[in-house]
């Protein structure tokens, strides 16, 4: 294992064991306050463990036994880069200088560092913005630059703390795609409360709740057969696989799913269309109006899901109010029409 962490922090109620293999991405999935940021803080060197050991490439980054320190490497010598919700670009430096910061700080010459920054700018498609100040960037651009800045420092481990949380929903699909591409070879820990991030970016998932890892395993396995309450509550996303056509995602069943935004992929690329059950509307008659994705389906089961009722069908799951269930007379076996706005469907290459 490239990175291992076994630590307790009693003051924050944390007791976790994690590891990440070379080049893999581990998602820490959990609700706010579950201890994800504390775990990242331990890896980054902003928090000390009370007990435990943290290693990277076999080197002890931190160690403690019952509060007594046995090993400690300060943040700047760890080769662990941290990217938070906010891009935190240095406001007094240009975009290029921001990306060149890591190489410069590690002793690379000014010219070589600038050249490296320019290669990263090309990689994230923001070459035009090299001389701008961070204040002149949009939120999505700033977060891309922040990612490039983290990676330009050539970290052995990259920590992403809710990298999408502060962004508009309009820009997250594009940023996820960028991350998907950039994290392919990078050993990464991604803290998120969004199951989509885990699904699309992570090889493995560790579900964190109440300061403990309650479940872990390959992403698809954890999300398709959730054993913990939290994993179950967040899983259940609607996934539709198909291939990319000029119309949208064509499924094997011959339907075309219209998504939101146009991913920059070749025709015929395998794709997944994703939508949340809450975005699925249930009708008894074929719906009219704005362009929608509609599916004919048969209700399989009804189950309470928070304040709503989760309606499972042979196609998609839908979350509707108890009032709608009564009004539509939903019951297992009932034939319905499911409708999803294109704006509620995210499409991703897989």
């Amino acid at each position: 294992m490239t990175f291992t962490l076994t630590a307790t922090v009693p003051s924050r109620g944390l007791d976790v064991r994690l590891d990440v293999a070379e080049g893999r991405t581990l998602a820490l999935l959990g609700p706010n306050g579950a201890g994800k940021s504390t775990a990242l803080g331990l890896a980054a060197g902003t928090l000390r463990p009370h007990d435990g050991e943290i290693t990277l490439d076999g080197r002890a980054l931190a160690g403690a036994r019952d509060g007594r320190r046995t090993a400690w490497v300060p943040t700047h010598r760890r080769r662990v880069a941290l990217l938070a919700q906010d891009p935190m670009l240095f406001p007094h430096l240009s975009v290029r200088e921001n990306i060149a910061f890591g190489p410069r700080a590690q002793g690379t010459g000014r010219r070589e560092a600038a050249a490296r920054a320019d290669r990263w700018l090309a990689e994230i498609g923001l070459t035009d913005l090299a001389d701008r100040r961070p204040a002149a960037l949009s939120g999505g651009q700033a977060q891309r630059v922040a990612i490039a800045r983290s990676l330009a420092a050539a970290p052995r481990l990259l920590l992403l703390d809710e990298p999408m949380a502060a962004l508009d929903v309009d820009v997250t699909p594009a940023l996820r795609q960028t991350l998907q591409h950039l994290l392919a070879e990078q050993t990464t820990i991604l803290a998120t409360h969004d199951v989509l991030d885990a699904l699309l970016l992570a090889d493995e998932v560790a579900v964190v709740d109440g300061g403990r890892v309650v479940e872990r395993g390959p992403t698809a396995e954890v999300l398709s057969r959730p054993r913990s309450a939290f994993a179950a509550s967040i899983a259940g996303l609607n996934l539709l696989s198909g291939t990319w056509t000029s119309e949208g995602v064509a499924t094997a069943g011959g339907e075309v799913v219209h998504g939101h935004g146009a991913p920059d992929v070749a025709l015929g690329t395998p794709m997944t269309a994703v939508c949340r059950p809450a975005a699925v509307a249930v009708h008894l008659d074929p719906p009219h109006g704005s362009p929608r994705n509609t599916f004919r389906a048969t209700v399989r089961s009804l189950a309470p899901h928070g304040d709503l009722v989760r309606v499972r069908t042979d196609r998609l799951a839908a979350d509707v109010t108890p009032g709608s269930v009564a009004e539509l007379g939903l019951a297992p076996g009932r034939e319905v029409w499911l409708a999803v706005k294109a704006a509620e469907v995210d499409v991703y290459p897989v």
Partner: protein, 282 residues
Amino acid sequence: MTAPVTSERAATNRTRRDPAEVPAGLPRWAYLPAVVGGLFVVLPLVAMGTRVDWSNYWGLVTSESARAALVLSLQTATASTLLCLVLGIPMALVLARGRFPGQHLLRSLVLVPLVLPPVVGGVALLSTFGRRGLLGESMEVLGLQIAFSTTAVVLAQSFVALPFLVVSLEGALRTGGERYDVVAASLGASPTTVLRRVTLPLVWPGLVSGTVLAFARALGEFGATITFAGSLQGVTRTLPLEVYLQRETDPDAAVALSLLLVAVAVVVIAATSRRGAGGAVR
């Protein structure tokens, strides 16, 4: 999507006001005492201007004693501002970022010269560095005599000016927070590199205003200087001391020199505040 990151926009636009905004929490009656207060500050300066003997002004401010005092004042105030920077920046860093027992107490103690009558500061310095002082006696043995020398002037000025720099820089460091420092460290920057390339550039406006305040305070120092350093022409008699002395014998010269001090203060504040504002958006 195209909205710039709001916190950074707030920082750069801090001084600009949108004319469309309606101020809340500003009662109309507040204008009256505010105007009276403004007049209270400005009127004495104007009054002093009307008392200046303009026909002899040049002669008054270029007399030998006046020139000696001005040169000494600028030299000592510059020296003590530098001393304040050398000691004050690390002090502000330790107070804002460090974690150690007694931190609260130390922060309060640093502020003491701010509230202490300067004469008392002078007495305190005398009991430290004077001939019979705590350190003065052993320094005497080494042939070092500080009291009543130009060094004493610099020490007196630094003593009273240091809190101004420390307080404004520490405030800026606390407001800025440590988050940028953590990001920089995680990119591989050593603490010294973080300080040089991130922390100090981000508190630049606070550092500039603290430096200006310290310089202005040093330039105007009177009580501690006359107590600890005395009033020897060309050695310890700075401009404020010269003004006080001339007030007895030659009131016209005192007014002329006072105006000179006002002018120096205005020039320093105007020059550095513009540079400070530029630093914020640099």
